[in-house]
């Protein structure tokens, strides 16, 4: 069996990790185990939360079963940062914001195992909140006014509202 981290050396270090009741088996070569600070229970500064390791364990496990065939997922690559699926499941970390669109759907089940959810609940970035709600509200109001103006055959106002809506929609797309 090859090491799940480097995929090069024979795995000689086996351990079972239980986080939040989820049991994962890890198989590492002695070098990688030392690098991750797992030998002798020493904690290396780079050793992240067991959580992060749990994810790479889950990903590696799902990967092992599909690795043999010509898995089309192996060709998936993030167009922005160049992160490949193979690399992503080995490291378990994202390369850029776009990676979430590229790899997110592929690992949704695993994220759910980790966090118990895949839906953010909590604070929202101000700009997003504005675009998400205020902007849409504003467009809805203008649309209603536009409709009213058309019905009243007030074409000058209608043209004005139409331009306003167009401006908002474009602005929202760019920001």
């Amino acid at each position: 069996m090859l090491c799940e981290n480097c995929n090069e050396n024979e795995a000689t270090f086996h351990y079972t990790e239980v986080v939040n009741g989820i049991m994962t088996q890890h198989h590492l070569c002695s070098e990688c185990a030392a690098k991750m600070g797992l030998t002798g229970f020493a904690e290396s500064p780079s050793a992240d939360f067991p959580f992060a390791r749990l994810l790479t364990g889950l990903l590696a496990a799902s990967n092992r079963s599909t690795q043999e065939q010509d898995n089309p997922m192996m060709n998936v690559k993030c167009p922005k940062c160049g992160m490949k699926y193979q690399e992503f499941i080995r490291i378990g970390k994202f390369g850029c914001a776009d990676c979430y669109d590229v790899f997110g759907p592929l690992i949704e089940d695993n994220i759910k195992k980790l966090h118990g959810s895949v839906e953010h609940k909590g604070k929202k970035s101000n700009k997003t909140a504005q675009h998400g709600n205020d902007l849409l509200d504003e467009i809805a109001v203008l649309n209603a006014k536009l409709k009213e103006a058309v019905e009243l055959e007030n074409f000058e106002d209608a043209a004005h509202y139409r331009d306003e809506i167009k401006k908002l929609k474009e602005g929202g797309g760019n920001a």
Partner: protein, 343 residues
């Protein structure tokens, strides 16, 4: 004004501090894994300029790794101003509030890491501080935020709120009764993690532990804080029960240990870090349980000495080129000079 580690807050017999950390990235740049050094410098410069324009950082000091030597960086890490990860970065910069309770790190594992400390048990305060800085930075940058996944982070273990809240706890009685590993697996069931701050899994120095949340997605900031505080309260009450039993059943031994620790700290001519931490932990316990006392008006905060005896902070106060023995000598002197008289 006193810094967070120089003053005692609520529940200070057990709780040293409350900390909130928020992880944020900007849309424009690749995350740290895929960020070239050139882009990192550009990102740092751009964000520094944007943040510098904010009112909220008016009184903050700023730093850039380009102009800091190793000792300065290490000492900032020992004072919890910067993280271990940042310390390992070639390019990094940041902003620090006057009393070092708020720190904004640039080019950490995520582009921006906002951290706020409050003394004792006061996670609401720590969150409020970090939240305000977050809002201000949000107004001048474009965060990588997704309606579904929330704040996007390099590591999936931070995605969502991007928030890690942690209590720093002094648990000498639980540690002395070998209860820590059992507790650690128990809190895991609630999505929390308990680990020692100084030392590793098999050894720990000073009996100081950090309890923090692991789950960041699908829970609100308030839920994270409530859950963490709820469990922290249970650990605190377990620690207090054990301490009470210890003092009640073994009062003579307990006060003997506290006074002996004081004796060594008061008169030693050289001290290793481990010894210093162990003895200071006993002093902290002794003061908290009323076994020993000072003439000071306010309760003395032992944790400031625990930070002060760290190697880089000693080196900063003295001379950066000290041999290991000179560091131990200076550590003993530092404690003699700063430990109040105990009666």
């Amino acid at each position: 004004m006193l810094r967070w580690f120089e003053t005692n807050g609520k529940e200070s017999d057990v709780v040293i501090s409350s900390r909130v950390r928020l992880a944020r990235n900007v849309k424009k740049y690749n995350f740290s894994l895929k960020l070239t050094e050139n882009d990192a410098v550009k990102m740092i410069d751009e964000l520094s300029e944007a943040i510098n324009s904010l009112d909220i950082v008016k009184d903050y000091s700023s730093y850039n790794f380009k102009t800091l030597d190793e000792y300065q960086k290490q000492a900032m890490k020992e004072r919890h101003v910067i993280s271990n990860f940042l310390l390992g970065q070639k390019q990094a910069a940041g902003f620090v509030s006057k009393d070092e309770d708020i720190s904004i790190m640039l080019n950490e594992e995520d582009h921006i890491r906002i951290q706020a400390y409050a003394p004792g048990m006061d996670m609401e305060k720590a969150f409020e501080l970090a939240d305000k800085v977050d809002d201000a930075i949000d107004s001048v940058t474009d965060y990588a935020f997704d309606e579904k996944y929330g704040y996007l982070t390099t590591c999936p273990s931070n995605v969502g709120t991007g928030m890690r809240a942690s209590y720093m706890l002094h648990l000498p009685a639980l540690a002395g009764n070998n209860r820590i590993s059992g507790l650690a697996s128990e809190v895991g069931r609630f999505g929390l993690v308990l680990r020692s701050v100084y030392g590793d899994g098999s050894k720990n120095y000073g009996d100081i532990y950090k309890l923090s949340n692991q789950i960041t997605l699908g829970v609100s900031e308030k839920e994270i804080i409530d859950n963490l505080t709820h469990i922290a309260n249970q650990i605190i009450s377990q620690e207090r029960t054990l301490r009470k039993q210890y003092v009640l059943n073994k009062r003579l031994s307990a006060s003997d240990i506290a006074y002996r620790s004081y004796g060594v700290l008061r008169y030693a001519r050289k001290l290793s870090l481990n010894d210093a931490m162990l003895l200071l932990s006993q002093i902290r316990l002794g003061l908290a349980q009323g076994l020993i006392g000072t003439d000071m008006e306010n309760e003395f905060c032992v944790y400031q000495l625990m930070i002060g005896v760290m190697p880089a902070n000693l080196a900063l106060m003295n001379d950066s080129d000290m041999s290991p023995e000179e560091i131990e000598e200076y550590r003993a002197k530092f404690i003699r000079d700063n430990l109040p008289v105990i009666r």
